[in-house]
Amino acid sequence: MANEFGENPIQTEGDIVTCRKLIRNASVAAGFGMTDVTRIVTAVSELARNVYVHSGSHGVMRWQTLYKPGQIGIQLEFEDYGVGIPDIDQAIEAGFTTAGSMGMGLSGVKRLMDDMTIKSETSVGTIVTIEKWGRAK
C-alpha cells in the first residue's frame, strides 16, 4: 500500500478541528480500529491545541502513514515556533501545566501513543513527534 502523507497549518482555533478530521480520515483509511482512531485523534487534539496556545498562532502538523509487514502505522509531527520547552522531562510529568489546563497534555498523549519524542530549543520552537502502530487487517 502506498504511503499517504500531508500537512495542515495550525494558526486558528478552527485548525484544531480541521487537523482532527484530517487525521480521523487518514487513520480510518490506514485501517486502524475505532479505539485506536479515537486515541490518535485525541492526541492530535491535545498537541494541536498546544501548538495553537504556545506558538503565537504559527505552527504546522505533518503526518504520514507507515507500513511494516503485518502492521500499519501513522507518524505525526507538530512543529511550533514558540518559546520552546526549557525542561522536557518536567513538561512530560503528569500534572505539569503552564496554561491553566489539567496538565494531562504531554504525559497523557504519551500514554495514548506508542512513541513520543520532543525536540525543543528555547526561543526557536518545539517539534513533538508521535507514532501509533496497529495490526494490519
Binding site: 482555533e13 478552527g14 484544531i16 478541528v17 482532527r20 478530521k21 480521523r24 475505532m34 479505539t35 482512531v37 479515537t38 486515541r39 485523534v41 485525541t42 487534539s45 491535545e46 491545541r49 503528569a94 489546563s101 489539567m102 494531562m104 497534555g105 504525559s107 497523557g108 498523549v109 500514554r111 495514548l112
Partner: protein
Amino acid sequence: MDENTLSVIKLKNILLVTVPDEPGDDIIHELQTKVLHAIEKYQSKGLILDISNVNILDSFFARTISETTQMVALMGGKTVIAGMQPCVAITATELGLHLGKAISTLDVDRALDIFSDNFKLV
C-alpha cells in the same frame, strides 16, 4: 446536525443539551454560557449533557465539563453526563481525564430516571 450551533432544550425543570460529534472550542465555550443563562431563565434543577454523538473528548472539553458541573452546582443544580461511547471512555481514562463531580449514565433515559428519582425525594 448543524455543528455551529448548540440547542439547549428545556424539559420540565431540567435542561437537555446534545453535543455535536466533533465539537470545536467555540461550541464548547458556548455550551457553558448558554447552559448557565438557561438555568437562571428557566429555574432549572439540573442539566443532562448528551454526549452520545461525541467521538472525541480531550482535556479542554473535559475541563469545560468539569467546570460547568461546578458552576451548575453553585446555582443549585445537578449535572448528568449521558451516553459516553466506549472508545471515548477508554481514551479519556488513558489520557488521565476526569469530569469532576458530574454523574454519568449510559444514556439519556437513565439520566432522566436519576432526576425523577431525586424529585420524589424532595
